[in-house]
């Protein structure tokens, strides 16, 4: 799988250039796309492909699936546009599709290998991880250590139950407020806080277990 540094979507740019679509609001583009305007939908895809890729990549274990899931998200969005009433923001609606699609895709993976947290990955557990946040520098050693820790955190989050994983990724990684998350996942704000609480307790246990194993 190859990820490009830039996003050369020439067709979208060419089509949109003639209509000033890049400057249109989401609502206007959604309205045009609902009427069958593919170019308008292309602008929406270009606008949201980066956050969708980030979200999906952080919620799924297999990086080879990311492209397929992102593609599926936008195809589902296109098909669902006639039913989109505009009660919520388009971005919220799209995030909801992405979360549901990722969860469904993941559950279809029957032969997905179980995630395992190796004790070799980190010694010291959550306390060591927490303490290095302030002590790191810009040298290669610390960069490698940082990547290793990011990988550890990623795998720990991926090991969470789906509902907890979704709110953790949306809140801590994507920076959504709990109110936004409640709209995305379709539950109350209190439920979002509760899931975050239990997720953090579980993560503390997961990462802390490494400390005992090391």
């Amino acid at each position: 799988m190859s990820y490009a540094i830039t996003r050369p979507v020439a067709t979208v740019r060419e089509q949109a250039a003639a209509t000033d679509a890049p400057h249109d609001s989401d609502a206007r583009l959604v309205q045009r796309a609902s009427a069958g305007d593919v170019a308008a939908f292309g602008v929406l895809v270009e606008r949201y492909q980066r956050p969708m890729t980030a979200l999906v990549a952080r919620m799924t274990a297999n990086m080879d699936d990311v492209d397929d899931i992102v593609q599926e998200v936008f195809v589902r969005a296109w098909k669902g546009l006639p039913r989109f009433r505009g009660d919520a923001q388009f971005s919220t609606w799209l995030y909801r599709i992405a979360v549901n699609t990722t969860i469904k895709f993941r559950s279809r993976r029957q032969n997905e290998q179980a995630l395992s947290l190796s004790a070799e990955t980190l010694t010291g557990g959550i306390d060591a991880l927490s303490s290095t946040l302030t002590s790191e520098g810009g040298d290669p050693f610390h960069s490698a250590q940082r990547r290793e820790q990011e990988d550890l955190v990623r795998r720990a989050v991926l090991a969470l139950p789906e509902k907890q994983r979704a709110v953790v990724v949306l809140h801590y990684f994507e920076g959504h407020s709990c109110e936004e998350i409640s709209h995305i996942v379709g539950c109350s704000v209190g439920t979002v806080w509760s899931r975050l609480h239990y997720a953090c307790k579980r993560l503390k246990g997961t990462l802390g277990a490494l400390e005992g194993a090391a």
Binding site: V9, G36, L133, V153, Y172, C178, L196, H197, C200
Partner: protein
């Protein structure tokens, strides 16, 4: 109001608010009640400390962002383009397209069932002249005089019918004619 309920009961009641409290997301009054409980409960204090520690690590060590594939739009477009074409089809074209499709189908049926090349050969025209090098797949058995006369009569009747029915549907009706 001072909390006089058992601590364990309060722990259960307040646990749903500890995450919000740890991120300073509670209203002042609710936050004050949680603080009053935390002052008396070491287990919940540990919970809050763990929540802040984990959330700090998650925020600071969020996995790097992947750049989207360059082919996202091309792949999406390839899948939605047929839908878009069907949905964007102008209404005024429908009768024209339907008529054209009908004519094409009628012409195909005419070629299959009426077989004008057979008729032309029997009336003295060369099949290869009319249809290029196309040949029948199997040689026809020699026709008797009676067969030839019957065939000529059929051809004449067909020509008369075609003249009377100028549209394509006439060809279909002709091909469905029962054998004598």
């Amino acid at each position: 109001m001072k909390d006089i309920m058992p601590t364990r009961w309060l722990c259960k009641r307040y646990s749903a608010f500890l995450a919000a409290y740890s991120e300073n997301a509670l209203p002042p009054k609710a936050a004050a009640r949680i603080e009053a409980h935390l002052a008396a409960c070491s287990a919940c204090r540990d919970d809050v400390r763990a929540l802040r520690q984990v959330s700090g690590v998650l925020t600071a060590r969020k996995p790097s962002v992947l750049e989207p594939s360059a082919e996202v739009w091309q792949r999406v477009h390839a899948r939605i383009a047929p839908d878009a074409r069907a949905g964007a089809r102008p209404v005024w074209r429908l009768p024209v397209l339907t008529s054209a499709a009908g004519l094409a189908a009628a012409a195909a049926l005419f070629c299959v069932f009426v077989r004008p090349w057979d008729a032309s050969s029997s009336s003295g025209l060369s099949a290869s002249a009319a249809w290029g090098d196309r040949k029948p797949s199997a040689p026809a058995a020699p026709m008797t005089r009676t067969d030839k006369e019957r065939a000529r009569a059929d051809i004449a009747a067909a020509a008369a019918s075609r003249a009377a029915m100028p549209n394509a549907a006439a060809e279909i009706a002709l091909s469905a004619r029962p054998e004598p």
